[in-house]
Subunit: 414 residues, 2 copies
Amino acid sequence: MTEHPSPSMSIIVQKYGGSSLATADRIRNAARRISATRQRGAHVIVVVSAMGDTTDELLDLARQVSDDPPAREMDLLLSTGETVSAALMAMALGSLGLHSVALTGGQAGIRTDTIYSRARITDVNPQRLRQELDGGAIPIVTGFQGVTDTDDVTTLGRGGSDTSAVALAAAVKAERCEIYTDVEGIYTADPRMVPEARRLGQVSYEEMLELAQLGARVMHPRAVELGELYDMPILVASSFVDAPGTLITRAEHVEVRKNVRGLAHDTDVGKITVTRVPDRPGVAHSIFAPLASAGISVDTIVQNAGLDSHTDISFTVTRGDVARALPLVQSCAHEMEAGGVSSSENLAKVSIVGTGMQSAPGFAARMFGCLSDSGINIEMITTSDIRITCIIERDRVKEALGVLHRAFELDRDA
Amino acid sequence: MTEHPSPSMSIIVQKYGGSSLATADRIRNAARRISATRQRGAHVIVVVSAMGDTTDELLDLARQVSDDPPAREMDLLLSTGETVSAALMAMALGSLGLHSVALTGGQAGIRTDTIYSRARITDVNPQRLRQELDGGAIPIVTGFQGVTDTDDVTTLGRGGSDTSAVALAAAVKAERCEIYTDVEGIYTADPRMVPEARRLGQVSYEEMLELAQLGARVMHPRAVELGELYDMPILVASSFVDAPGTLITRAEHVEVRKNVRGLAHDTDVGKITVTRVPDRPGVAHSIFAPLASAGISVDTIVQNAGLDSHTDISFTVTRGDVARALPLVQSCAHEMEAGGVSSSENLAKVSIVGTGMQSAPGFAARMFGCLSDSGINIEMITTSDIRITCIIERDRVKEALGVLHRAFELDRDA
């Protein structure tokens, strides 16, 4: 017998990604998990992505009718993917004897700005959600979408469904937001690269942000930022196995027994270096302004001032952008009479991340020493409060991750 | 160059059915037709059904997750089919250089009651449509759906998209509602049965209603009724060829040179007869009440009062319902001590339809004579003001249609 939840019960928001909903079987599987949560005595609000490849199929249809589909219509088109998932999930819960109601982003009160294809949430009005919860229903909300003030459908861009889930959790003052996906949580390093990588029980928002921005594709940074803003604990866990997952929470809730929490890496790195740049005001701007105009995103920038009023400037872009960026940089280097331009497309970033690092010295030295001992050359270095990143040759990444994982004892239970 | 339509221009509503939108090619084809209408200087509002088999695919998904999907969630699920069509059509028009905006039923102001899966339209607020037309856009509205007062998505059931189109046409005071489909219009008889059948240039709403209810699947009766209610001319035409189609309009606009306008037939007819029923009050109710409770729809009923205070009662149901109906009728016949129960599943209806028939005698006699001359036995007869229907053996239908078509000179241009 299903207990009828009372209004005072705590609320859990559960988000299921596309791979967790790819087939009718998987939807039924997720429905059983939702049912179990409900039977433990919590209100549940579910947020769903589009099933498996649905979004790609819709994009393909759009390309068949238009070379340049208008963003508004594209958003309306793509939003149907999540609506299908939500309706099917509500049906699956219904066949488990649970009263459930599928709601579009608009029906669930998610308002956004009018920037189609990458809208930002401006407001969440939880009135309908509360009404459904009070009536004993499990609301199933379409992720990734909202409506403008004129009720036009928008999509939230990359990481949209995670963002929907965290925003709804904040609006209804949920106890926790649970993100169900195809990985078992956040690891000390990518298990495909470091076999002894270990799942972390907890990480801080800051650590998760650094890990997410550095290639750990588990969660989009913007959803993590929103979680931090509203102090909403986020559990990342697998929808396929029953395992505890990783809880993302405030730093003071994270037990920091070890100062480096995890490693991140990114193998999609290209580097461009301009040598012997005249060291005068405005040179950096002359190099980077044309790249920005061309829509090329520049990542790490390092400038080494020389002794003879010249300087070398190096910066990284994604590997795919090197070929587009080179002629722009060469033309600029020629104008400013720089020494020359060189590039490499075979680089990668390796990072150590940990909230505790900011209060303790010596991490950088240990990292550099480790790589040096293994004969791995460091091309560039960048740091943040809780991260140190080295740019190295791409074919040494796996080796570098291995030695760093051991050196910082990440394989040992903290 | 596309002319910018002025607010005073007339409005044409065009509805495209699922087969007219089954592929990207067909969507582009329909878009060219819409563009041509616009270039002739009219405002256009487009209503679309779901692409080809989309609805069946969604139904199949629903069945995979639930044996008994809740109607509200089913409606939300099915509504995505039309949304996909609308977004794609807006994109296709965009790539022809036309500004277009896809609108869901709710966005287009279609309000309904809360009877999910067969909702009735309660109100159409054309404010958004007028605003888009004033801005020079072509609104593309999802057919078959609306929203309740609480913004929940409903579907309109069978014939829903045609109904949407006619309701929108009435709300914006359109000049005409055009229904594009896979047939070239309304015929004097089904061309697959009567090769010399001729397309009718015009028919009245009443004639169309009789033809639609008798198996001419071109348009659902409820959309025709709505057209009659609002005196909205409806053109039925093919989206695949450029041909004039059939205009459905008020009787006085229809030139009635010939009194029979067309033939209809329905081969899905079963008959049940109860013989020697005691002729006393309440016997008809005792037979038909159990059938109604079982959801069996009874069509034609004929009662022949006998001379000895007994009567024979015959009625038709769909062939598929005969087996379900028989035991109910037998039990009832036994209770009332009737003579017996017989049934047949091999019957069909053949009808002559025409507005002019009500004011002229002799049509029934000619029809019966015709069938009799061909040795076709008439099992039952029913009539309305503008229709005479004979129930005959199913394997004589084609022959009956042929002789009637010739007898009433339907092959000759009126």
